[in-house]
């Protein structure tokens, strides 16, 4: 998987309540959820991102609730990849299950600044900050998880009998 975009950066412990506040959970429509994504910590989120941009977070990204609405809102906002120092576990599996690309890379998450141009090749395991020219190595996913991602999420993996 390859992607390229501008970085939008947040700190540690970005929780699912700020990714998508619970007052909007009376719907599961991805576009409606995307409209309120990040609004409690960053009112300018939508005005500064474009399709394909990359979100960068600190430690424990996506902590809190199990709401799948959180990765859905990020994905439907047009974000192509989330890079973080670490992810909360339920968010991590939800992202894999719905096909939102995520990668844990402390060095990249530390070094990349808001607004930098970033490219990532997850098959090769390389993230590059095109603004500074620095590259970072990432760990590949275990084969089992890679199969789910390659199938396009758990639904397709189940459909095609990759896991059952």
């Amino acid at each position: 998987m390859k992607c390229k975009g501008k970085a939008v950066k947040y700190g540690d412990n970005v929780d699912t309540d700020v990714i998508i506040p619970a007052r909007y959970l009376n719907t599961s429509d991805p576009r409606e959820l995307a409209a309120h994504c990040m609004e409690d910590i960053d009112k300018s989120f939508h005005s500064k991102i474009a399709e394909g941009d990359i979100m960068v977070g600190g430690e424990n990204f996506g902590c809190g609730s199990s709401r799948e609405h959180a990765p859905i809102a990020i994905k439907a906002s047009g974000i192509s990849l989330v890079i973080a120092k670490s992810f909360a576990r339920i968010f991590y599996r939800n992202a894999i299950n719905i096909g939102l690309a995520i990668v844990e890379c402390s060095e990249a998450a530390q070094a990349i600044e808001e607004g930098h141009e970033v490219s990532a090749d997850l098959d090769e395991g390389v993230i590059t900050d095109l603004t500074t020219g620095k590259s970072f190595k990432t760990e590949p996913f275990p084969a089992f998880i890679q199969n789910i991602i390659s199938a396009g999420g758990l639904v397709n993996a189940a459909k095609s009998g990759i896991i059952a």
């Binding site: 412990n13 009376n26 424990n60 609730s65 709401r67 990765p71 339920i90 939800n94 299950n97």
Partner: protein, 421 residues
Amino acid sequence: MPMTMSQKILAAHAGLESVEAGQLILCKLDRIHGNDITSPVAIREFKKMGFEKVANPQNVTLIMDHFVPNKDIKAAQQCKCCREFANEQELESFYDVGRMGIEHALIPEEGLVVTGDVAIGADSHTCTYGALGAFSTGVGSTDMAFGMATGKAWFKVPSALKFVLTGALPKYVSGKDLILHIIGMIGVDGARYKSMEFTGPGAHSLSMPDRLTVCNMAIEAGAKNGIFEVDDVTLAYEKEHAKREIRVFKADEDAEYDAVYEIDLSKLRPTVAFPHLPENTKTIDECGDVKIDQVVIGSCTNGLFKDMHDADEILKGRKVAKNVRAIIIPATQDIYLKCLEAGFIRDFIEAGCVVSTPTCGPCLGGYMGILAEGERCVSTTNRNFVGRMGHVQSEVYLASPATAAASAVLGRIASAQEVMR
């Protein structure tokens, strides 16, 4: 390879002799559940997968608890979607208004998850049932859909932190103070991806409601699950609630842990988590003068009968302070009824509290107690993130039912001891 308690339960459900941390396994599930927020997404995914029937209608549970009684038209649509699915799939356990309770209080009460089970729920506080000696963990809606369709879920086998508890809790100190103390100690990601296993004489001294509260907030330390060693307290609880055979698993003596913590319960003080993370804890002695506007006593963390009893001890014969709204929410219909019979509801109302039908409402800023700009709430709930209970400039302070009730009476963060002396 010696195994932790959680690993033993997972191995048994994966049909394996043994498992080790980091291994990816497919497990048979004893219970899959969702609520009115997460189930509609799961139902959509289930249909997208092309499945027509759930694998086992007897072990899929839907509980309407977050935005019910329906707070608005969209919430009503979501419940309707769940109701239609439950009827179409002939689910044995569908809990709607009038029969429902907050899921993590209702599921143990109804015996839907029992000792030795592996259970997933599309709600992060599904880790609660570790109190029963079960492996339970929160997942998203797609995992729930896959679980409903196949009766299985994939897991990465967790390593574990061991908490050896000694001593006994002092008066007015509860399981909530213990888990807030632990989160303050290890941080909101201190147990990320791991199990938190509780053992030792102090663990055995804790009541089942206190254990449920401790395991409920394991997720607030980032844990995959929290779990208590099975003992007489567990067996007595299950004798009353379990409708299936239970299975008792015990950690191997020589199981390996990433870290071992010893905690003397007799040294704990009432503990409060300040905004905006559950790890920002202070003992009651360090809180200072924090004026408050609202108190919430309830939720999946602290809406049990014992919690209501703790609150009643403080509120009976006293008055909620001027300019404070106190909202009390017994977690299930059965607990509500028991509170009524015990006279708590009268005590609460005479004190100036409002008593609500079971709902998750205020905990996640849904409805039934939303905060305005600049307002502060002492709450027995589980999260105090930015905007969690309302306006982004509002503040939530997490505390036990005794501390919350005392704070309601004095209009500021206060200990039960101060009110009762």
